[in-house]
């Protein structure tokens, strides 16, 4: 279930240059699951979709880690504790819970990292098999929540394109190494489409489920307008079938997406 409600901001933290994490509170947020999102009212014509960066079901709290890219996110970054956000939440199909006995690889790029942290926060404590978080960004400032992963018992592998933090390069190198070691691993990834396409390609031989959290421009956010589609399987002679990120996703299994059309 999801609701339309106003939730107070209980914390607002500048976590990196141009990145703010807001924590909001409302009983409906107890139902939130990793990979789901909130559709947030801002001064623009459309709401802004933002994934949950952390979820505290006991207190009905959820985090929203926002990168400032335009007017809506700039407005969000200016909010302070005590103000309210008007949200539709929790929305969408989140990550399917990982198998605790199977190796688990989390791959996040930039603002794709927050939903993966919420997955680790939720399922990490019960996980018995090896696990690894690979966090990538163009430069060190874009690597988010590395400290949160560490605090939750998982030292992340970092990769930056300019080499300013961790390894120089993309998340693909570390992902290939982990998959070579644990070919049966399950993978969860979120990040720019280019990164997800590479993850999808590299993980093609993996025997475990590969879940990818997608982004698309949205209208309603709740499945009514068919704005937010991504090319999906099956691909017919005239092209792919289009599925909604807001309700069929944001999280899709690798096989569900028609990568050659994205």
């Amino acid at each position: 279930m999801a609701g339309a409600f106003k939730a107070p901001i209980v914390a607002a933290l500048a976590v990196a240059p141009r990145h703010v994490e807001l924590v909001i509170e409302h009983p409906e947020l107890s139902m939130a699951a990793p990979g789901q999102f909130a559709h947030i009212l801002t001064p623009g014509m459309l709401r802004r979709p933002v994934s949950f960066s952390r979820i505290d079901p006991q207190r009905g709290r959820a985090g929203l880690l926002v990168q400032v890219v335009g007017q809506g996110t700039a407005w969000l970054a200016e909010r302070s504790p005590g103000e309210w956000l008007d949200v539709l939440a929790p929305l969408g199909r989140g990550f399917q819970a990982p198998d605790p006995a199977r190796p688990w690889i989390l791959v996040g790029g930039g603002v794709g990292i927050p939903p993966l942290y919420s997955a680790w926060e939720r399922w990490g404590p019960q996980h018995r098999a090896p696990a690894c978080a690979i966090l990538g960004a163009r430069e060190a400032d874009g690597i988010l929540m590395a400290g949160d992963f560490q605090g939750a018992g998982l030292l992340p592998v970092l990769a930056t394109e300019d080499g300013s933090a961790g390894r120089r390069g993309t998340v693909v190198g570390p992902l290939e190494e982990w998959l070579a070691r644990y070919p049966e691993a399950q993978v969860m990834a979120c990040g720019p489409n280019g990164m997800l396409a590479q993850v999808s390609r590299v993980a093609a031989g993996a025997t475990g489920p590969v879940q990818l959290a997608m982004e698309q421009r949205m209208g309603c956010g709740i499945g009514a307008c068919l704005a937010c589609v991504v090319p999906a399987t099956p691909v017919g002679p005239e092209g792919p079938r289009y599925r909604r990120v807001c309700t069929d996703g944001p999280v899709f299994f690798r096989e569900e997406l028609a990568w050659s059309w994205i």
């Binding site: 279930m1 999801a2 609701g3 339309a4 009212l41 623009g44 014509m45 459309l46 709401r47 539709l88 698309q216 421009r217 949205m218 209208g219 309603c220 956010g221 709740i222 499945g223 009514a224 307008c225 068919l226 704005a227 937010c228 589609v229 991504v230 090319p231 005239e238 092209g239 792919p240 079938r241 289009y242 309700t247 059309w261």
Partner: protein
């Protein structure tokens, strides 16, 4: 104040606020946020005989006070609609309008015939005005003769109330309205989206996957009001107005321009409960501007124009 609206062929709305086609899915999507049965009606997403895949993404782009979309009428087709969507619609206690689309006159007839015996559907809205598909649709909507033939084909297979949705993307939209009334239309709905374009600076190409799109939202309200004004004074059938409605005051403007009822689209994305708020406030707003009934407001701007000594209305 009684907000009910009597329309042709016994169709009665409990109030004049209808959810606009394409912005309200097939009904259940918003049922978690909106008391659907409080609405005067809902017009469902356009339905074609076979499934349509729609346009490639991105399909929406925000513009100042507006929304540009190129959904391309993605829909599951008539058979799936009847199997999967009609059962929910049958449970609703509000007027359900089927928005119908086709590439050919025959396809419009097929959808209307296929829904004629479906109890969930109380009326048809023939969409000959969507700017987002290449064949069919708007090519009928911009040609009074073609529009007449689409309407005749639909009329030949149904005795349910039929409205035809008119495009604002032509100089004289009333010629199409007059033609479809001649062809048997019981009502006119106006307007569909205004054709437009946005450029994505970063990608150096049109922002939308469908290249051009249809503009909706507050940006188009003056365009919509003018079209409703022109049509309502020329045809004898009721006009359902829409385009950029955000408030009960906006609804009153449409009523005074000559609409009997309205549809509300884009604003629902921002404020799912806005239609209910409008229904709650409408009696107050009508009273505030000196109207004792809904009926009294319909076309009220025509006579006052005469009263002011300006050129007369009808």
């Amino acid at each position: 104040m009684d907000l009910s609206v009597r329309l042709p062929r016994g169709l009665t709305l409990k109030n004049p606020i209808i959810a606009a086609s394409g912005t309200f899915g097939f009904g259940p999507e918003y049922a978690r946020f909106v008391q659907v049965n409080r609405l005067g009606g809902i017009s469902v997403k356009g339905i074609s005989p076979e499934p349509w895949r729609g346009n490639p993404p991105p399909r929406v782009w925000e513009t100042p006070s507006g929304l540009l979309n190129s959904i391309g009428l993605q829909n599951p087709g008539l058979t799936t609609f009847l199997e999967e969507d009609a059962p929910f619609l049958r449970t609703l206690d509000t007027v359900v309008i089927a928005n119908i689309i086709g590439h050919t006159v025959e396809e419009y007839r097929t959808v209307a015939a296929g829904l004629q015996n479906e109890p969930a559907i109380h009326a048809f809205e023939v969409n000959i005005s969507c700017p987002n598909i290449k064949a069919g649709g708007i090519t009928f909507g911009h040609d009074p003769d073609a529009a007449y033939h689409v309407m005749r084909a639909v009329r030949s297979v149904t005795d349910k109330p039929v409205m035809v949705k008119v495009s604002p993307n032509m100089a004289d939209p009333w010629t199409v309205a007059e033609a479809v009334v001649e062809g048997g239309a019981d009502m006119i709905s106006a307007i569909n989206t205004v054709i437009g374009l946005a450029i994505d600076l970063k990608r150096r190409r049109p922002a939308l996957g469908g290249t051009t799109g249809g503009l909706s939202g507050p940006a188009i309200k003056p365009i919509a009001l003018r079209v409703v004004w022109e049509i309502a004074q020329r045809v004898s059938v009721p006009v359902i107005g829409m385009g950029g409605i955000q408030s009960a005051e906006d609804v009153l403007e449409f009523l005074m321009a000559g609409a009997r009822a309205v549809m509300v689209g884009t604003i629902t994305f921002q404020f799912p409960q806005r239609m209910e708020e409008i229904i709650d406030r409408l009696p107050l707003v009508l009273a505030h501007y000196g109207f004792r009934s809904l009926e009294e407001a319909v076309g009220a701007a025509w006579t006052s124009r005469t009263a002011d000594g300006a050129e007369g209305g009808e």
